[in-house]
């Protein structure tokens, strides 16, 4: 296992508000990591910084030794918590778009997942429900053979039955040497697939530990432990 992500004193301010406050963090490859924290704790900000969508106010973030840029974008697959697809597009247009720009995009994997979820490549995005669009976005993200997957609330907008499929999709579609960073509030749904968890509060790192250690030391599930740590 090698160090995949390094954050050194990473700080992001929006006006007077500090979203991330001198965060120091390192993540190894080959792990599924839960990025957990209450609303406004800085989870989305961290994922956006990793993907070069925000510029740090202070400090730096490195992915495989590089600052976010063309090199890192080749190896990071990002699922934002927004609908980012042009509504004029068909699913087939998106498949072409992804395969044109991402060398690691696996078309056969994408088609297999679309077929499992009964989504036709001819379907237009503007005729789809919000949940179906989210599934399409997840399929596109997970069809890349990336080194790092950043998933921001991947199961928040879909029904419980689809959640199981999505989680198994995530589990079955990443390379052994890749890492997945999942930000979510639905801890009980994902905790069985996590190797590590990161707790963030008010932009600062509260905890970074393995799931196994927390269960052994605290004698409770991650969901219960989260509720205890972030009790209002």
């Amino acid at each position: 296992m090698s160090e995949l992500v390094t954050c050194k004193d990473l700080t992001k301010r929006f006006g007077n508000h500090t979203a991330l406050d001198h965060l120091n963090l390192s993540l190894d490859s080959g792990k599924i990591i839960g990025l957990l924290g209450p609303n406004g704790s800085g989870k989305t900000t961290l994922l956006k910084l990793l993907n070069g969508l925000l510029t740090p106010s202070e400090g730096e973030v490195l992915i495989a030794g590089n600052h976010p840029g063309i090199e890192t974008k080749r190896i990071v697959s990002y699922l934002p918590d927004k609908m980012y697809l042009g509504s004029w597009m068909r699913v087939s247009d998106l498949l072409t778009y992804y395969s044109d720009f991402f060398e690691d995009f696996d078309m056969s994997r994408a088609n297999a997942m679309l077929e499992s979820l009964k989504i036709s490549p001819k379907d237009r995005l503007k005729t789809m429900s919000k949940g179906t669009k989210e599934k399409v976005q997840l399929i596109l993200t997970m069809s890349r053979r990336a080194k790092l997957y950043c998933l921001d609330e991947p199961i928040a907008g879909v029904d419980p039955a689809a959640r199981d499929y999505i989680l198994s999709t995530i589990l079955n579609n990443y390379e052994p040497d890749a890492s997945i960073l999942i930000s979510t509030h639905l801890i009980s749904d994902v905790e069985n697939i996590l190797d590590e968890v990161i707790f963030i509060q008010e932009g600062q790192l509260k905890l970074h530990a393995s799931v196994e250690d927390i269960r052994m030391q605290e004698g409770e599930s991650i969901d219960s432990y989260f509720r205890e740590v972030f009790k209002c």
Partner: protein, 277 residues
């Protein structure tokens, strides 16, 4: 990657653009062939007035909307939710800006050609009918339609020649090349001014569009003032040839320099100061 960016940029824009400009051409053809196969005197005045009103409106709308949609494309694709995909592509900021600028430029030219084609469709059928039904007596000579077109072309080139010799320009090929370069420089300058204003607007956390509009007005004002001063200085030169050549060359140089500056502003913001809210 530029080739792929161009391909997808074109794909994203062409349907709306083709529809807009296609409607402008269709309206011209509708009027032209309508007038060809009927006598204007037989058509109700209200119908003609309504058609001409709709025609002018559609031609203006096609031109304005071409610009508006292409400006909106830059903003939406890079600085709104769509930017969450566009900005995570392994593509340089240079390729993003260049592809958008080239497609915008291509549609600006195609829009101008569409408007010309629309006018031609509107006027040519009636003109051809006129010439086939009548012989035109011009300076006591009978002219066919092709004679008339040749005459028109000769007049245009004659006026251009006279203007060039008046200001002492003899190298027409050089002048033509200079005009082409000047045309593209001013086309891309206009586009990059919009892009730079939108990029500057993205730097603030709220009122991004208002900031973009104010930046556009501010940059335009500053450029007009400095451009005006440099032209006034050139006019202190005495001979007409020197005035025209010096002002044209200096305008072209200033335009090219400004294109580079505006491009660098866009690239810097996109690659170093991106903050998607």
């Amino acid at each position: 990657m530029l080739k792929k960016c161009l391909k997808h940029e074109w794909k994203a824009c062409w349907k709306n653009m083709a529809l807009l400009n296609g409607v402008a051409i269709f309206m011209g053809a509708l009027g032209g062939f309508g007038f060809l196969f009927s006598h204007i005197s037989e058509l109700p005045d209200l119908l003609i007035v309504l058609y001409l009103f709709a025609y002018v409106l559609i031609v203006i709308a096609a031109s304005v909307m071409t610009q508006v949609l292409m400006i909106q494309r830059y903003y939406k694709n890079l600085f709104t939710d769509e930017g969450y995909l566009t900005n995570v592509l392994p593509v340089s900021a240079t390729d993003h800006i260049l592809s958008k600028m080239l497609v915008f430029g291509a549609w600006s030219i195609l829009n101008a050609l569409s408007v010309l084609a629309s006018f031609a469709f509107l006027l040519l059928p009636s003109a051809i009918r006129y010439f086939t039904a009548n012989t035109l007596l011009f300076y006591n000579k009978t002219m066919t339609f092709s004679d008339f077109l040749s005459y028109l072309w000769a007049q245009i080139t004659g006026v251009a020649d006279a203007a060039f010799s008046l200001i002492g320009i003899t190298n027409h090929i050089g002048m033509a090349l200079f005009s082409i370069v000047g045309f593209f420089a001013s086309l891309f300058f206009g586009i990059l001014l919009f892009y730079a204003a939108i990029s500057i607007g993205s730097l603030v956390s709220s009122h991004k569009i208002l900031t973009a509009v104010l930046s556009y007005i501010g940059m335009t004002t500053v450029i007009q003032i400095f451009g005006g001063i440099s032209i006034v200085r050139v006019f202190q030169d005495s001979t007409p040839t020197a005035v025209v050549t010096t002002s044209s060359v200096s305008t072209l140089i200033i335009t090219v320099v400004l294109c580079v500056v505006l491009f660098l502003i866009c690239r810097y913001i996109l690659s170093r100061r991106l903050n998607l809210s």
